[in-house]
């Protein structure tokens, strides 16, 4: 009798294949989870900065919206972990007396961005809203 105990080559290879698949899938899931958690944290930072900027842009005179600086006026030190990042504000008149203010934060070499839009209406009087 050639063999009484032990594993054949096929058995060992099959076991190794299964082990490799399990480990690879576990690692892939772990890496993907870490990546998504990081992206979520980055997005939360970006939207805090966007909301703060929106508070400033709400209070600029309607007529002066177009000439206000095209980058964020508010403090962006919160976005330090996203460096290098860029902030952009664009204003577009959609109809008489109505302007869309679009605020954007771009990071990760422009591969990721977060946007927040604000509609401003010319009330004719107070520029509070």
């Amino acid at each position: 009798m050639r063999r009484e105990k032990g594993f054949s080559l096929i058995e060992v290879l099959a076991a190794l294949l299964i082990l490799t698949l399990v480990i690879t899938m576990s690692l892939a899931a772990f890496v993907e989870r870490s990546k998504r958690l990081r992206q979520a944290s980055e997005t939360i930072l970006a939207y805090q900065a966007l909301a703060n900027e929106a508070e400033y842009r709400r209070r600029i005179d309607f007529a002066a919206l177009d000439t206000a600086q095209p980058q964020f006026i508010s403090d962006t030190s919160l976005l330090a972990p996203l460096q290098p990042f860029a902030t952009v504000v664009s204003v577009r008149q959609t109809q008489p007396g109505v302007k869309d203010v679009s605020m954007t934060v771009r990071w990760n070499n422009g591969l990721r961005e977060a946007k927040l839009a604000l509609v401003r209406v010319d009330t004719g009087g107070t520029n509070l809203w």
């Binding site: 939360i44 508010s74 509070l128 809203w129």
Partner: protein
């Protein structure tokens, strides 16, 4: 006949096993280093903590409903404005104005005292992370010609800004 080996592993088997183990160790090491670098770069995400989300949401509502000629009185009863305490006069659902004191002085806790015609209603959030409680600050922020709002900032244990939110009163008629 001399039996050469009855138990144990050959050198080749040990080397292969160590090589496989070494590869796993290397992968684990790379992942750990990457995670550590990530942790150092990003602040702690306080906004994943349900209690903190509730505190910020309630605070936002109180500030957005701030109302009166001076919505942030310097002193109220035994309380006075400071980075660890916010006093705000806020509209309530009945239409009246109540004075609300947000107290961040106790580590791990946030207290909200609402005073309405001498009657106080207290609400407390407990179990907050110590680094959040120790770092949160509430400061009035001014935009020229506009009602003053409140800027809420909090840093994690490493001093990185984790929360920075500007809350502004909304118009009431």
């Amino acid at each position: 006949m001399v039996k050469r080996r009855t138990a144990g592993y050959t050198l080749l088997e040990v080397v292969v096993a160590m090589a496989v183990f070494g590869i796993f160790l290397m992968i684990l090491g790379v992942l750990t280093v990457e995670m550590r670098a990530q942790e150092k770069r990003m602040p702690v995400n306080f906004l994943r903590h349900p209690q903190i989300v509730v505190v910020i949401s309630k605070l936002r509502r109180d500030v957005q409903d701030a109302f009166s000629a001076n919505p942030y009185p310097e002193v109220f009863r035994e309380y006075s404005q400071s980075p660890k305490m916010l006093i705000v006069q806020s509209v309530q659902e009945s239409g009246g104005v109540q004075t609300i004191v947000w107290d961040f002085r106790t580590s791990g806790e946030v207290h909200r005292h609402a005073y309405n015609v001498g009657v106080s209603t207290d609400w407390t959030a407990r179990g907050l992370p110590a680094d959040f409680s120790n770092s949160i600050e509430v400061d009035a922020v001014g935009i020229p010609g506009r009602p003053w709002g409140v800027r809420v900032t909090a840093r994690d244990g490493e001093g990185r800004i984790a929360i920075d939110q500007i809350l502004q009163p909304r118009a009431h008629q």
